[in-house]
Amino acid sequence: MELATAKTNSTRRVPTQAEIDKNTTILNKWLGEAETRLGSANPFAKDTQLVAEEHFAHVGLPDRKAEDYKYTHIRTYLQEDYTAKAFAANILPSEIESLLNDDFISIVVVNGKYVTEYSRLNKLPQQVTVQSLYKALQQGNEVAIKNFNRALHKSKNPLAMLNTALAGDGIFINVPETFLCPVPIHIVNICTGDTKALHNPRSLVYLHENAELTLIESYHSIKQTEKNFTNSVTEFYIEDNASLENYILQDEDALSQRNDVRQFIVNRDSRLNSVIISLDGGMVRNDPTVLIEGENSEAHLNGLFIVKENGHIDNHTMVEHRVPNCFSNELYKGVISDNAEGVFNGKILVYRDAQKTNAYQSNKNILLGDKAVINTKPQLEIYADDVRCTHGTSTGMLNEEALFYMRSRGLNEKLAKNILLQAFAKEVSNTIKNEAFRAFIEQKIEENIQ
């Protein structure tokens, strides 16, 4: 425990020139296909992208030896023949109607691009900025320029580097000082298309001091007839005494493959509640990282993943306590059936100076069927001595005693199982504070459990 500050990544082997060349070839192919990139909006962004290109050339896509991707071999999902070329989406307003909620501010994003015509901003308070990140950078928005990639510039995440290098657009949200956004912002993300596509959406959310926001993101597939790979990155800045509720529903079809990196910078006296509900998709990799940089803050990370058939959902979470007197609580629950595979790899890192840290982590899974698999790997790395940190994990079948008890009162087996699974899931859905969205999620969960 002699480290002054913790090093998060084990030192990487220096790549050979041949490896760099190979990585560069892949990257150049994608760079050539990506028509507009954020760099053309702004010179600072351009520099950032050049640096990211350089970094990615050195690391490349993670291979089988990469510890952080031990259970998710990215290269089997994302191959060279995926194109980074953007193509026109062919979605009708009527096809997304049912996904929009009139009580929210609705932002529609198709294949990573903001579609203003389909969005509904009539409830958006004038104080809050919601626009394309490209436009924000182009218009010289200080917040966007200063913070683009700031949360990630030390990150060793190869997919985040790839995103930074290739990103063409995404959403920029800015909530000014002391503004409590009264209406949730809902970003409706749609994947569509008949091409093996690689999308690299990039978003930035900034809550200034004392601000509050509920940001809902939902992910859907419409008329998707070929596999795609979405490699998204969102940076979140939560300034002093600000509060962010961030709810995610991943509900895509089996052709969707998604790597979702979200980087949260949590400042003094602030609060983050992240809830990720993963119900479907061929492959989902959730990679939230919370960097707690100001004292007296709290971070809640809640996740529910229901994986079926040949699905694969990997939750790779990181909470870094960099300063004293903060609290974090993480709860991830999985229901894995058929041939599906679930992963939970959660890490808590407490820096030497982060005394009086309270950090908790729990992962509970239910396996349905003999072929379902869960890989769970909790990690605690603690360099401070006056902390309270616990982690626990449990995996089992449905409780047979409870099932018999329920059946003996007249519930058939299927119903009894569904009720037990819904109760299991509720512990996570209950952490969603917005009632309308919670009800919607519970309905979704119920349908998914059938």
Binding site: S408, R409, G410, L411, Q422
Partner: protein, 253 residues
């Protein structure tokens, strides 16, 4: 109403019930007593439809239906109820919702229309009063964090709500304090009609002072070795099981 003939049951290769006979008619209360491990809970579980047990022979008929052909939930829908010796905790499922679902399922099976919400609430209030169970308990997750006595009382509350035609109470009295015992027994007595029946499994004669049985049976080593009236319970209270064991080993020899 319930007819058990020559029932032989084993679990994991071990024979537990070895040819058990029992007939219960409607309107009757039967008490089953017997030393620990003699097979009382096994009998109750097999009647309720627990699948961990293998029925090696014999039959269970309930209102003319072959119970062994029915699943656990179908038996409940036919009017069978088991109050568990060890009620199970079900985190995240409130007793109210659980009962609502159970009643809906049972009514549907019987071809009855769904119960109106206000009727359900009215019944809830009535039955809560009957077993003097606090409303906050029924609002909580089923049995979660309940004391031993609260769990037992919740079993009787559920029984009152589901109105089975036959209920097996497996040691519902153990874990109850003196007042709770009286409340539960009074509740059971109020639920007695000429059309339903009860099988009360107990170790103590005390319960039988409140719930007066028509018959008392002694289950020993997987068989009913002695049957009598309530006086038999008194005799057992005074003399223990040694004399039964002795008599039985003489018969066996």
């Amino acid at each position: 109403m319930l007819e058990i003939k020559d029932l032989k049951v084993s679990v994991e290769g071990k024979q537990i019930l070895k040819g058990l006979n029992l007939t219960v008619n409607k309107g009757e209360v039967h008490a089953i007593m017997g030393p620990n491990g003699s097979g009382k809970s096994t009998l109750a579980s097999v009647i309720a439809g627990k699948e961990d047990y293998t029925v090696d022979g014999g039959s269970i008929t309930f209102n003319g239906k072959d119970m062994l052909e029915l699943s656990a939930d179908e038996r409940a829908k036919e009017g069978m109820f088991l109050a568990f010796q060890y009620p199970v905790e079900i985190p995240g499922v409130s007793t109210i919702n659980f009962l609502k679902t159970a009643i809906a399922e049972i009514r549907q099976y019987r071809g009855l229309p769904p119960m109106e919400a206000k009727d359900f609430l009215k019944t809830m209030r009535e039955k809560q009063k009957l077993v003097e169970i606090e409303a906050n308990l029924t609002g909580r997750s089923v049995n979660e964090g309940f004391s031993g006595g609260e769990k037992k009382r919740n079993e009787i509350f559920q029984m009152a709500m589901l109105e089975p035609s036959m209920a097996i109470l497996d040691e519902t009295d153990s874990g109850l304090d003196i007042d709770a015992l009286r409340i539960v027994a009074t509740g059971v007595n109020k639920l007695r009609t000429k059309d339903n029946a009860f099988v009360v499994i107990t170790h103590y004669q005390r319960l039988l002072e409140y719930i007066v049985p028509d018959f008392v049976h002694v289950l020993y080593k997987g068989r009913i070795v002695k049957s009598g009236t309530r006086e038999l319970a008194l005799e057992l209270e005074g003399k223990g099981y040694d004399w039964i064991k002795k008599e039985f080993s003489e018969i066996e020899a």
